[in-house]
Amino acid sequence: MSSIEERLATDIAAVTGRVVVGESDARYARDAVQERIDSRRTRGPRHTVAAAAAAAAVIPVLGVAAFQTLGGDDGAAPPANPGPTTEVDVHGDFLVGARPTAQLINGVWRVDNGVVLMLFSEDGRMRLDDSGMLFSNPAVTGTYEIDGDLITVTMDRGPATCTGRQFTMRASLSAAGEMRFVHTQPAVEGCSPLWQLRGVLEQVLPTKNKYLSGFKVPAKGDWQPPVGPTSLHGDWMAEVTDPMPAEDGGGGGRVLEVAPDGRYTVAAGSGAVVDRGRWTFDSSASRLSLSSAGDSPTCDQGDHLLLSGVEQLITGTILMRATVSQNACGEDWASSNEWFLLPHEGSRSG
């Protein structure tokens, strides 16, 4: 062991040695964890009310005239017309841009610097996931309604106690491919992985977000074969090489989802599924094989897409590249050979 290793090890031992976890510390921590797990069953309504109060977007500010008469020493009667109140929208500076519409929010979105993906369909359906299984096994599905700048989601799939529950957020389309949101009624804890009070969503499909559409997979780096099939799991966004013209609204892009249960899904456009089937990975040859299922929208059953020489690079983002050695379906989306992982819970870049 080198001297720097010894110094590091000694210092770590000294720091960690100070971290004493007594019986009461452990019990307190365990109770805190259990309370959060149980909160969806017992604390839900109170939590929702409390959270809604905390997330109140409007703070009433009394007009000066009214303020001067309240509790005044002179005992004078308050004026008949105390003056207008002025409401301050504490999120007004954040929620800039256009109000949401079904057309504008139609597509797949990711939480900026987060692990949650959301899909809004124009038919009023939505889904939400944080495990890289937005298409195959999302954490939450439901319907949404828009009223002004409010989007209300009613869940119809997820944890059993969450069916029928709602969460509401204000939203604005602040830039092309960017949506900002503020929860006015967060989901009951445990019902939705979207826990932030407020945040920014980047549009993955169609790829209108300038950062995502401009993301380029580097040619150089420590590219290595995947360590195993599990490192392929997740939602991979193809590098956008053929963006739609700006005059047509921009966009393009596609997502390949590789699910742990052996299924894959390819989505394009505004999140429509264009292919689905089964995948296998040959570690010895570093070859990923996608075989279309009978219910694939665009390919015939058994059509193979073979991706050879699969390599990954981790730079803070997990990147993947391969050579398309067989494309039986022949669709354009199948020509993608460079992707980056949309971070999910448990992924190294999440």
Partner: protein, 175 residues
């Protein structure tokens, strides 16, 4: 892709089992969090959150032995997120981590030769380097175990270890 045995697939995350996992791993994970964040409160929050996440994702684990790796990964993820949240100004860079170095309150009070000074410098390393060093020297994982946890090759583990220690040495000399 592993196939989970029927009894495991059907098993609920019962309280007793969860208790066992908690008591077995909590302290070590807390120490990992303290090293990564320099704050016990932040570390407690990250570790408790990791256990809640484990409870939620229990059914997706391949086998019980994966729980420990899941927890370690979840704690590291939350440490990463915590560091990011401390940054007050940033240029949005999707999918890429932005500048992460943020001194913890404890760090600012640590003198050069004081206990914790080397650990404080470790927190200023690039994310991957500090995570590899944490795995090797806090969790005391082997190269192979570190690679599996962080899903990088053994060659990368060695490279990050070497560069991380080199960078640490330089920081000690400069401080």
């Amino acid at each position: 892709m592993g196939t989970r045995p029927a009894e495991w697939r059907d098993a609920a995350m019962d309280a007793e089992h969860f208790d066992v996992l908690f008591r077995r791993h909590y302290a070590a994970l807390l120490r990992l969090g303290v090293v990564m964040l320099g704050s016990r409160e932040a570390a407690e929050d990250a570790v408790q959150d990791a256990f809640v996440a484990l409870h939620r994702h229990w059914s997706s684990l391949d086998d019980p032995e994966a729980a420990e790796a899941y927890l370690r990964s979840a704690v590291l993820n939350r440490c990463r997120s915590w560091v990011r949240r401390q940054v007050t100004q940033r240029t949005p860079r999707p999918l890429m981590l932005v500048h992460e170095h943020q001194e913890s309150p404890e760090d600012t009070m640590v003198g050069r030769d004081e206990v914790g000074s080397v650990v404080a410098l470790m927190r200023t390393l690039a994310r991957r380097q500090r995570e590899v060093l944490a795995c090797r020297y806090v969790l005391e994982l082997s190269v192979a175990e570190t690679g599996r946890l962080l899903q990088i090759s053994e060659g990368s583990v060695k490279a990050h270890t070497h560069r991380g220690l080199q960078a640490l040495q330089q920081r000690i000399e400069m401080s």
